[in-house]
C-alpha cells in the first residue's frame, strides 16, 4: 500500500522477504476475521439447509438430516472443526450437493473469471482512452460528454439496465442470447458475453475514465511537462509520451479497488443473464443455507482479492520508483 513504510534500497531482498512474510500473516488474520464473521452470521440465522426446510418434512426427518449434516454440535465447535479442516486445505463438502466445496467453486470460478477479467481489460483500455480524450479536451464538449456519460453509467441501476438490454437486444432485435454461456464457437461466446460484460463495465469504466482524467491533468500541470512544452515540442507528442506514461501508473493502483467491486457486480449480472459463476452460487448457497459452500466461496473470493491486490501493489511499485509496496 502506498503509505507503507519505505526502506533504503540496501538489502532489498531481505526486506522484500520480510514484507512477504508480514503480508502473508496480515492476510491470514484478515481471512480469519472474514471467516468468523461469515460463519457466525450464517449459523445464527433463522432457518437451516434447504434439505431440512422442506414444507412437508416431519420433525423426525429434519432431525435425521441435521444429524447427518453434523449440525447438532454447538456453533463454536462447528467453527473450530471447519477452521481446522480448512487450515488443512479441506473446505468440506457442500450441504446441498454432497460434492467437495472446492469442486463446486472450481465448476463456477472459470466463468466468473472470464466475465470479470474481460470486463476489467475492456474497462481499462476504453477507460484510459476516454480519460485521455477527456483530459486533453478539458472543459470542452468532449470532456463534458464523457463526464456526463460516466455519471449516467454510475447512476442507472444495473439490473434494470440489464433487463432493458434483454428486451431490446434479445427479444425485439434477437441479436444476442438472453442467457447462457454460448456454445463452443468463439462468435457464440462473444455474443453471450456481450451484454453481461457491458452491464458489468458500467460500474468500473466510469471510475477508470475519471481517474485517468484527473491523473493526466495532475501530470500535465507538473513542471517537467511545462519544461518539455516550453522547449517547443508539439503538444500532442508531449501528452502522449510524457503525461500518459506517468499518468497511467496510478491507474494501476485503482485496479485493486475495482476487483472486489467487479466480483460484487457479478452477483447481479450472473443472476439476470443466467451466467453460471460464483456470484449466483453464493446467492443460491446463502438462501439454501449451504453453510460450507458460503464459507468456501467467501474465503475463496477473499483470497482472490488479497492475491490480486498484492500483485497490483507489486506492479505499482515496480512502475513508480517513488512508491514502495513494502
Amino acid at each position: 500500500m502506498k503509505h507503507s513504510l519505505s526502506f533504503s534500497t540496501i538489502g532489498e531482498m531481505t526486506i522484500m522477504g520480510q514484507f512477504l512474510v508480514k503480508r502473508f500473516f496480515q492476510s491470514l488474520v484478515l481471512i480469519l476475521i472474514v471467516s468468523i464473521i461469515t460463519f457466525f452470521i450464517m449459523n445464527l440465522a433463522p432457518g437451516g439447509p434447504s434439505s431440512m426446510m422442506r414444507m412437508d418434512a416431519t420433525a423426525e426427518e429434519r432431525a435425521a438430516i441435521a444429524e447427518q449434516l453434523g449440525l447438532n454440535e454447538p456453533v463454536i465447535v462447528r467453527y473450530k472443526d471447519w477452521l481446522l479442516s480448512a487450515l488443512g486445505g479441506d473446505l468440506g463438502t457442500s450441504l446441498s450437493s454432497g460434492q467437495p466445496v472446492i469442486e463446486r467453486i472450481m465448476e463456477r470460478f472459470p466463468y466468473t473469471f472470464q466475465l470479470t477479467a474481460i470486463t476489467l481489460i475492456i474497462s481499462v483500455v476504453v477507460g484510459v482512452i476516454l480519460g485521455v480524450i477527456s483530459a486533453m479536451n478539458r472543459n470542452k464538449w468532449q470532456d463534458n460528454l464523457i463526464n456526463f456519460g460516466s455519471v449516467v453509467g454510475l447512476s442507472v441501476p444495473s439490473f434494470w439496465m440489464a433487463i432493458m438490454f434483454i428486451l431490446l437486444f434479445s427479444v425485439e432485435l434477437q441479436w444476442l442470447p438472453s442467457s447462457g454461456v454460448g456454445d463452443s464457437s468463439l462468435v457464440d461466446k462473444a455474443k453471450s458475453m456481450a451484454m453481461p460484460v457491458i452491464i458489468l463495465a458500467t460500474s468500473t469504466l466510469p471510475t477508470i475514465v475519471r481517474f485517468t482524467r484527473s491523473s493526466m491533468l495532475e501530470v500535465i500541470n507538473q513542471n517537467f511537462i511545462r519544461t518539455a512544452r516550453s522547449k517547443g515540442a508539439r503538444e500532442k507528442t508531449v501528452v502522449y509520451f510524457h503525461a500518459l506514461k506517468n499518468a497511467l501508473i496510478p491507474v494501476v493502483s485503482i485496479i485493486g479497488v475495482l476487483i472486489p467491486r467487479l466480483l460484487g457486480g457479478a452477483v447481479i449480472v450472473e443472476t439476470v443473464f443466467g451466467w453460471p459463476g460464483m456470484g449466483r452460487l453464493i446467492v443460491e448457497a446463502s438462501q439454501g443455507r449451504d453453510y460450507n459452500l458460503v464459507m468456501g466461496v467467501t474465503v475463496f473470493v477473499t483470497v482472490l482479492v488479497i492475491v490480486s491486490n498484492f500483485i497490483v501493489d507489486i506492479i505499482y511499485s515496480k512502475l513508480d520508483p517513488r512508491v514502495k509496496a513494502y
Binding site: 449516467v152 447512476s155 441501476p157 479497488v257 466480483l263 453464493i282 458460503v294
Partner: protein, 299 residues
Amino acid sequence: MSNPAANNTDLNQVRVSANIKKSTAWTRLKKNKAAFSALIFLVLIHLLIFVGPFIWTVNPDATNPAGMLQGITASHPLGTDDLGRDVLARMMKGGQITLLVGFGAMFFTVLIGGLVGMLAGYYGKWVDIILMRFTEAMLSIPNFFLALVALTVFGKSPLMVVLVIAFTSWMEIARVVYGETLKWKESEFVEASEALGSSSVRTLYKHIFPQIIPSIIVSSTLGIAWAILTESAISYLGLGIQPPTATWGNMLQNAQQYIWTTPMLGVLPGVAIALVVLAYNFLGDGLRDALDPKHRGGK
C-alpha cells in the same frame, strides 16, 4: 460494495483551504450548470416527495384488484400497479423511504468512516495501525457477498438495510478523512492549540473537525447516491425492504414481472432512481469543484 464515486478523492484529496469563504464556494457552485440544475432538481423532488402526500392524500397501500394495471386516469394520474394501488401515491411514499434509506445509510457511513479516519489520523501509532489496517481489510473483502449473507440472515427491515449499506461503504470516507486529519494535525494552529493545553478531544473537535467538513460534505452527497443504487440492487435479489412498504427499489423489482405487458410500471421508479442518483452525483462533483478550485482545473 465500496463507494465508486468517492474513489475520485483518493488521488486528489480534497485540498480545501481553511479560509475558503462559503460565499465563494456558493458562487462557484452556481456557475457550474450541471451541479446547479441538479441542486434545483433535488430541491424540487424532495418537496414533491415530502410535501406531495399532504396534497395527494390517496392511501398508497389501498389495494383494488378490480382496477389493476390501469393507465393514466383522472383518479390515478400515473395509473395503478399490479394490485390496483395508486402509482403516484406509491412513488411519493416509496421516494420517502428510498431517500430516508439514502440519508440514513449516508449518516452511518459518515459517522463510522469519519470517526475511524479522524481517530486513526490524529492519534497515530497503534490506533492508526489497527484502524487503518482494518479499513484496508474491509476494502479488500468482497463486501457485496457479506452484505448478501447478512441480509439473507437478519431480515430486511429498513434499519437493517441502512446498516448493511453503511457497514459496507464507510471505508472510502475513512481513508479520505484520515488523509485530511494527518495533514491538519501538522498545521500551526492545531499545534498551537495543543501547546495551550487543550485536551485532544477538544482539539480534534474544535480545530480538526471543521477543516474536514468540506470533504465530508462531498463524500456524503456521493454516498447518498450510492446508497440509493445499492438499495435497488439488493431489492432485485429479493433482499431489500419488503412490501407493503414501498421503495423505488422494490417497486422496480416488482415491475419486472410486467415488462412484457406494462413496461411503464418499471419506467417510473427506474427513471426516478436514475435521475435522483444522477443529480446527487452531479451535485457531489460540483461541490468538490466548488470547495476545491484546483480539482477540475479552475472551471
